[in-house]
């Protein structure tokens, strides 16, 4: 992958000047290339990665496996697009294997998510079945471990 994108994936808040130093590029070229990635839709947004377990939010997340019937024109994309548009659906993937779509759905409590599944999702034309699993704890997100990591145990000066 492009080195610039790698740096942004590690820390999207890194200043253009610092990125320029790291990659040995002029700062204005870094800025231009980032704008270009944004314009082309390759960079679709910037978000903070939170350890939500620490926030005691009124929030539950369900992972939902969905079996669907592909549509005659548009295949899985049409039905997946309809499902993904619901704001409750935070993430949606087309999968190989024993089900078709994998959804990450958020709600304030279990009942709200259950209502979404039974009233919105299952009733959609083309949805054959769902299996809902609630997430209990997050250990790692986007490559970042959620537990505090140990401190640097190396000696301060070594040969």
């Amino acid at each position: 992958m492009d080195q610039l994108l790698k740096v942004l994936q590690m820390n999207a808040l890194e200043s253009r000047e610092n990125i320029a130093r790291m990659l040995g590029l002029p700062a204005d070229e870094v800025a231009r290339r980032i704008s270009d990635f944004e314009a082309r839709g390759i960079i679709r947004g910037y978000q903070a990665i939170l350890n939500e377990d620490q926030l005691n939010l009124d929030k539950v997340t369900a992972v939902i496996e969905v079996k669907v019937t592909p549509q005659r024109e548009g295949g899985f994309d049409t039905i997946a697009g309809r499902i993904a548009r619901f704001p409750e659906v935070k993430t949606a993937y087309l999968m190989s294997g024993s089900y078709d779509l994998l959804l990450f759905v958020e709600g304030t409590n279990l009942r709200e998510v259950a209502a979404f599944v039974s009233e919105r999702l299952s009733s959609l034309e083309g949805v054959l079945s769902t299996a809902t699993h609630f997430m209990l704890k997050t250990y790692k997100r986007h490559g970042i471990l959620m537990q505090q990591q140990g401190s640097d145990e190396r000696l301060t000066v070594t040969p």
Binding site: T156, T158, P159
Partner: protein
């Protein structure tokens, strides 16, 4: 009281007369201070790749807790042989030309002890790793240092060697990519050295521990050049590229008679390298993941950042091409390396290592290791910039 026993006078004189490592000295000062931002650490800040650690735990569970063959597990030697063939361009028979050791440090000690008779001269280049000179002396060899220079990019040249070599010289030691300078040797540079070694009929010990950490272009090993393999002990290990320093695992490859001689010493002094570390190394070689590439990318970004930061603050530094060290010159700030490092530590709490820890010709330089997080690199550069600005302002008033 120890004095009454005159213990110091009863010590082996070679050991007694070798000064403690300059880096050890500096370490003692640094440890008295709190919250130091260290660019003084010569080991990766990354953890060992998880698959290596996980498989070591598994090996422990499975009971890999016994002595191994003196040479090391055959399976590991086979994997090493194939890794060296692929990446360094030399063939070694895993049965009798590969020896697994406790880090490259042990391998280097074995090689010197296996080769050197008292009084034999060993050519090596400075600035260099802190143990080279001492290891030669422990082997009762005569160290012949050759000073590399910033104006040559700290590369070694044939002319430098010709100026030092004598008929009693037996061995040349090389270390590229280099700790502490970050210098590497091109194929053409190595060809000159190879010709010298052959014409003078020397043996060669090449420590290529940093080979994978070569930033611009690929590493060339001198063992891949014609006629060198027969007279060379090739040293490599897992500490740097795989971030496995604490595993203490290295290895030596060479012609059977040399490895056999080294094995004899290893057998009687060390017996074998740690069985668990050997299992870890085997996993590292047989299941290469994305970790090495990711670490190298990150080192390179830090290298670029450091180089740009030095340029911005007007510090002269040859471009570091390998390992994870920059070796900038601080001569123009009117302080010795040691005083520069001490004042930087006291005023800005940034630890660097005085160049003199790596040989007298390191005077005027400091070693900055970028084996620390990008945030630390950035903050250290900010503080060093501030420090240098003050030095310059101070200089102008005089």
């Amino acid at each position: 009281m120890n004095d009454s026993l005159s213990l110091r006078n009863r010590l082996n004189t070679v050991v007694r007369d070798i000064p403690r490592s300059g880096i050890r000295d500096f370490f003692d000062i640094v440890t008295t201070m709190k919250d130091v931002l260290s660019l003084g650490i010569g080991e990766p800040d990354f953890d060992t790749p998880w698959h290596v650690r996980e498989s070591t735990v598994f090996a422990l569970e499975r009971g890999a807790t016994h002595y191994t063959s003196n040479l090391g597990y055959l399976e590991l030697r086979q994997a090493l042989s194939s890794y060296v063939r692929k990446n360094f361009g030399a063939e070694y028979n895993p049965d009798n030309e590969v020896l697994v050791t406790v880090g490259v440090s042990e391998a280097l000690d074995l090689a010197l002890r296996a080769i050197i008779n008292p009084g034999d001269e060993v050519l090596y280049h400075e600035p260099c790793y802190v143990s080279y000179r001492a290891t030669i002396l422990f082997a009762h060899g005569v160290p012949l240092e050759v000073s590399t220079r910033a104006e040559d990019g700290f590369r070694l040249t044939r002319a430098m060697l010709e100026a030092r070599v004598t008929p009693r010289t037996k061995v040349l030691m090389l270390n590229f990519p280099n700790n502490p300078t970050g210098a590497v040797m091109s194929r053409a540079d190595l060809e000159d050295i190879a010709a010298f070694v052959k014409e003078r009929d020397l043996l060669l010990i090449t420590d290529e521990i940093y080979a994978e950490l070569t930033h611009d272009g690929a590493h060339t090993s001198i063992v891949s050049l014609p006629g060198l393999r027969e007279r060379t002990v090739f040293l490599h290990g897992f500490s740097k590229a795989w971030a496995m320093t604490g595993f203490r695992l290295g290895y030596a490859c060479g012609p059977a008679p040399l490895i056999e001689a080294m094995m004899k010493i290893h057998q009687y002094t060390m017996l074998c390298a740690s069985s668990l570390s050997q299992k870890a190394a085997l996993e590292a070689l047989t299941h290469p993941g994305p970790e090495l590439g990711n670490m190298l990318d990150e080192y390179r970004r830090r290298r670029n950042y450091l180089a740009a930061a030095f340029a911005d603050m007007g510090v002269d530094c040859i471009r570091p091409l390998g390992a994870f060290y920059a070796f900038p010159s601080v001569a123009k700030y009117g302080l010795s390396s040691r005083d520069f490092a001490l004042q930087l530590l006291q005023e800005e709490k940034v630890a660097v290592v005085p160049g003199t820890a790596f040989g007298a010709c390191g005077e005027g330089f400091i070693r900055c290791a970028y084996a620390t997080s990008m945030d630390n690199v950035k903050e250290a550069m900010r503080r060093m910039g501030r420090f240098i600005e003050r030095r310059q302002a101070h200089g102008q008033t005089h």
